[in-house]
Symmetry: C2
Subunit: 291 residues, 2 copies
């Protein structure tokens, strides 16, 4: 058996088209466009790349961006003031604080300062609290977890009643995706580095979300035939044959597992492109709420 | 095999002794005592009973209580003002809003108004958000879930590395207890009314927390021999042979399951007495933080 490919690149492109149409309509009807502020502290290469990709995606979608590229040694109060000013700016509908912040910054205070109505990353503790609870819908669902669910929905994969196994329990992916699957009536198991006999737990999955950050850890004999695999991993492994000297790989041994899975996301081109698509979706939803 | 009885009544009594000693010490050292405010709206019999039990327990422990027994038809703003006044009262270290509130009251607004520092029930969305996330300790852990963990700890049952199954996903028990077990490094499965083949999922448990509210639903052949059972259920079933015409029973068929489990809580006398003990513990911890 060879699995159906869950084509995140194509699905994200479809979502970008929908967003562009929404923005166009909003502009025609109100003369306004959605606005996303990016707050980047320091010069981490990966963070710079992410923010650049986000700005570029905004531009393509017709969303205004408001960039704040700030020095590594910014003081807590200065950073806080920038966030509060963005809260007050009516042209800004979403505020993205790129993580991680430098060590001297109190990250929770900054994230808590972002107005709930503009928390397009969904990391405000109140949004996480609402996400965890039944019937307390958060204003925004974190982008990568929302992207995982969207991939399942747009591939026509039913979640209700399925055994879902989430490998990894991070605040930004594992935990929220587990909560989303639970609210969609999956029976959810969360496993992690302290789980005993991990392969046998993973084998219980009808739907597996791997978000643990270990290259190709999940092997063919770890999965039940017919499993649906959402691979959030994004690991750089040495590859002298490649131009860059490395290649990107997921948490799942794709070539093996695709032979037994019923559907699987590739890495890259699976979950990755969904994160930015969901960020823009959250921003446009936020702007619509303000109309 | 006959299971070890996890004696919640005795464990709660031990905790009450510890609390009394703490209160005594605080009084001697500072001249102050911890204070708990109870806010009861309407005349629901069960809510009245719970609040009365809480007041009585405070009295026995030397904790001051501040009772607000309010009419069913109280307006949102009036109730909100009472909560804000209690937030400002330095003699009050914990505020308990007895749930459920009447239908015309916006429950989330009221619970969110309780000062984070006095949220001894742990139901403020920020406390729930912190509870769900790794390394973001909430100021207070909800009482019943905390009581479940305390029962395991004080019986010497190891949580790390175990398969824990939580039956039920309520905001007040199932979800928070699942998060607590996860943070203690159990591999956690959350199941519920939409779970397929529930018995086979429950059979995976080394530790089972039943919090689903269905009398004696978990049968002997649903559990793995040696399982540890924490039964949060509290169901009234008709019993003509009893004086009251009913008896209380848990979610687990105690008489059958105790023959295969390694340890089990009775109902009543298991989790029940722990809830109030943890409420007082949270109140005293809060008062200590204010010193």
């Amino acid at each position: 058996m060879t699995a159906q490919l869950i084509d995140g690149k194509q699905i994200a492109a479809d979502i970008h088209d929908e967003i562009r149409a929404d923005v166009e309509e909003m502009k025609t009807e109100t003369g306004k466009v959605p606005g996303l502020a990016t707050v980047l502290v320091g010069t981490r290469k990966d963070s710079q790349t992410y923010v650049k990709m986000k700005k570029r995606a905004c531009k393509k979608a017709g969303i205004a961006s408001f960039a704040h590229d700030l020095p590594e040694d910014i003081r807590q109060e200065e950073l806080l003031k920038i966030v509060l000013d963005l809260n007050a700016n009516p042209d800004v509908h979403g505020i993205l604080v790129q993580l991680p912040l430098p060590g001297h910054i109190d990250e929770e205070e900054i994230l808590s300062a972002v107005s709930l109505e503009k928390d397009v990353d969904g990391f405000h503790p109140i949004n996480i609290g609402r996400l965890s609870m039944k019937r307390r819908d958060p204003l925004f669902v974190p982008c990568t977890p929302r992207g995982c669910i969207e991939l399942l929905d747009r591939t026509g994969i039913k979640i209700e009643g399925k055994r879902a196994v989430v490998l990894g329990r991070s605040n930004i992916v594992g935990l929220p995706v587990a909560m989303l699957l639970l609210h969609r009536n999956a029976t959810v198991t969360i496993c992690h580095s302290r789980t005993k006999d991990l392969p046998s737990v993973v084998r219980e999955a009808d739907i597996l979300v791997a978000a643990v950050g270990r290259a190709e850890m999940v092997k063919r004999d770890w999965v039940k035939p017919g499993v649906v695999v959402i691979d959030v991993g994004m690991n750089a492994v040495d590859d002298p044959s490649s131009e860059k000297g490395y290649r990107l790989t997921g948490d799942v041994a794709f070539d093996e597992v695709k032979e037994v899975a019923s559907a699987i996301t590739p890495v890259p081109g699976g979950v990755g492109p969904m994160t930015i698509a969901m960020l823009l979706r959250n921003t446009v939803d936020s702007a619509k709420r303000c109309l």
